[in-house]
């Protein structure tokens, strides 16, 4: 298969304007099959805006977005479900997808929450809800998966779990993943391509290159970028003792 066929989405010099300012400008990036591309950057740097362009929730006001697949799944950053709507986990799993009970259980099982099948959505903890959101996205068997802060509110061990699951998804489903994350040590250890945003692209490339980039060090501070090497090691170590992922 030629690399052209693997291309799932392509942003070229794209920007979104919301009066009175540009939320983001000049973003060029690609996501290919089997690849994890991560967006990092401070609050308000345009990570979510960029993700929404890829999803066609926002149209670029300049530049272009080209997408080569319709099989998309999305884990939004925030999702509030009002009490007025009675909703069980199983109903939520079937939101944009026709799944039978087995398929629902299987996906919930993958993120470790199959016991929540008939629970009310409103009763879930933050971490449980994130797992359900991820399970719903996996169940769609997407070609392109967009995850906006998928581990927020998840405890430390759960975080490692979920990141392992995300790594496995890209391999098992052979899909491309666009991930918005704050978690620098996951980003650096498991991502194929990092895009560092702050209203525009500060720097991008392989994690090992980005980590040495001046713009990156400026943005995240000398201290954090140094401690990162320690964290990176720690993270790899956890994986090995876990045995679930070989690095």
């Amino acid at each position: 298969m030629s690399s052209k066929n693997n291309l799932l989405v392509n942003l070229e010099n794209a920007g979104v304007y919301k009066s009175p300012k540009w939320l983001i400008r000049g973003v060029s990036l690609e996501v290919r099959r089997g690849q994890i591309v991560t967006l990092i950057g401070p609050n308000g740097s345009g990570k979510t805006t960029t993700a929404k362009m890829v999803l066609s929730i926002l149209e670029p006001d300049e530049g272009s977005m080209k997408r080569y697949t319709d099989k998309i799944a999305y884990v939004p950053q925030k999702i509030n479900i009002d009490w007025t709507m009675p909703l069980r986990v199983v109903d939520f799993m079937r939101l944009t997808n026709n799944l039978n009970d087995n398929e629902v259980s299987e996906s919930l099982n993958q993120t470790g929450v199959e016991k929540l099948f008939k629970e009310q959505i409103h009763g879930l903890s933050g971490g449980e809800f994130q797992r359900v959101l991820l399970a719903r996205a996996i169940a769609k068997k997407p070609e392109l998966l967009v995850l906006d802060e998928p581990v927020q509110g998840v405890d430390f061990n759960g975080e490692i779990d979920l990141y392992n699951i995300i790594k496995n998804i890209s391999a098992n489903l052979n899909c491309g993943i666009l991930l918005v994350s704050h978690d620098l040590h996951f980003v650096m250890s498991a991502t194929d391509h990092v895009v560092c945003l702050n209203g525009h692209i500060c720097c991008s490339g392989k994690p090992s290159t980005v980590i040495k980039d001046k713009a990156y060090i400026e943005l995240f501070g000398e201290h954090r970028s140094k401690t990162l090497t320690y964290y990176q090691h720690d993270h790899d170590h956890t994986h090995n003792s876990d045995g679930s992922v070989s690095s």
Binding site: I72, Y74, D82, T84, L87
Partner: protein
């Protein structure tokens, strides 16, 4: 079998309750109570125009409601006033315009009370046909767009990103809402139709645990309200609309009781 006015009213009312059940659930899930109210207020203008140009009332009300819905979308693009302000503006301006126009048409006798609160005596065989045929069309369309509409109700961005085309279906939903208001004017009246949309759905929420259950129980509560309400209206010689709504609110209060009891048992 429809010779008796009461039978006609009952058959029409049950038809309306079946349509308002699912639409009412969507209205409260989407926090559109005031939107329904605005459409209903504007219905008076629709009725006046129907008399002025000898149009079918339901048709005229439907057109006016649809125009109001489009106006609202347009206004939202032009001003940053909050949604409820715009709705209030539209509701009362159309109500006022309707009443003023009514003044000009002094040659025609209006049954204002009937328009505001519903009049079972006026329900004809044609109304039965209109409600059941129109209602079937509305429910048919709703069935086909349910998945998209429902996913957009839970989370608009998610539905949009995953290709459910929520923008188109939201528009269709608005037209369906205009349709159900048009169909139920005669029975319930313009002031109270929102009540029949919201109260059975709200009562249903108190005792159900998933979306489908909530829709079906809302329909049942609607049918009960209409049936008991109409009998009460007949017995006590009260307007049909208010009687139906009073029964609905009694059923709502009953729906709260199990919650209270549950709370006490847990303590």
């Amino acid at each position: 079998m429809f010779d008796d006015f009461f039978t006609r009213a009952l058959v029409t009312g049950i038809g309306i309750a079946i349509i308002t059940g699912p639409l009412g659930c969507l209205v409260i899930w989407r926090r559109l109570s005031y939107f329904g109210d605005t459409l209903a207020h504007s219905a008076l203008l629709g009725v006046t125009l129907a008399y002025a140009f000898s149009l079918n009332i339901a048709f005229s009300v439907f057109i006016i409601s649809a125009v109001i819905a489009l106006l609202l979308l347009n206004l939202q693009k032009r001003t940053r006033l909050a949604g409820d302000s715009l709705l209030g503006l539209l509701a009362h301006s159309t109500l006022a315009i309707g009443l003023v126009l009514m003044g000009f048409l002094s040659s025609i006798r209006f049954d204002i009370m009937g328009l505001l609160f519903g009049d079972i005596l006026s329900v004809t065989v044609e109304d039965i046909a209109l409600v059941w045929i129109g209602g079937s069309v509305i429910l048919g369309i709703l069935y086909f767009i349910w998945k998209s509409l429902f996913s957009a109700t839970v989370n608009y961005d998610l539905a949009l990103a995953e290709g459910m085309k929520p923008n188109i279906y939201n528009m269709i939903f608005t037209l369906l809402l205009a349709g159900v208001i048009a169909l139920s004017i005669k029975m319930i009246g313009t002031l109270l139709i929102t009540g029949l949309l919201i109260i059975p759905a709200a009562a249903s929420r108190n005792i159900t645990h998933n979306p489908k259950q909530m829709v079906f129980v809302a329909i049942l509560i609607g049918i009960l309200s209409v049936t008991i309400g109409l009998f009460t209206s007949l017995e006590l010689n009260t307007s049909s609309g208010p009687s139906i709504i009073v029964i609905a609110i009694i059923l709502f209060i009953i729906s709260l009781i199990p919650l209270e009891l549950r709370g006490k048992l847990q303590k």
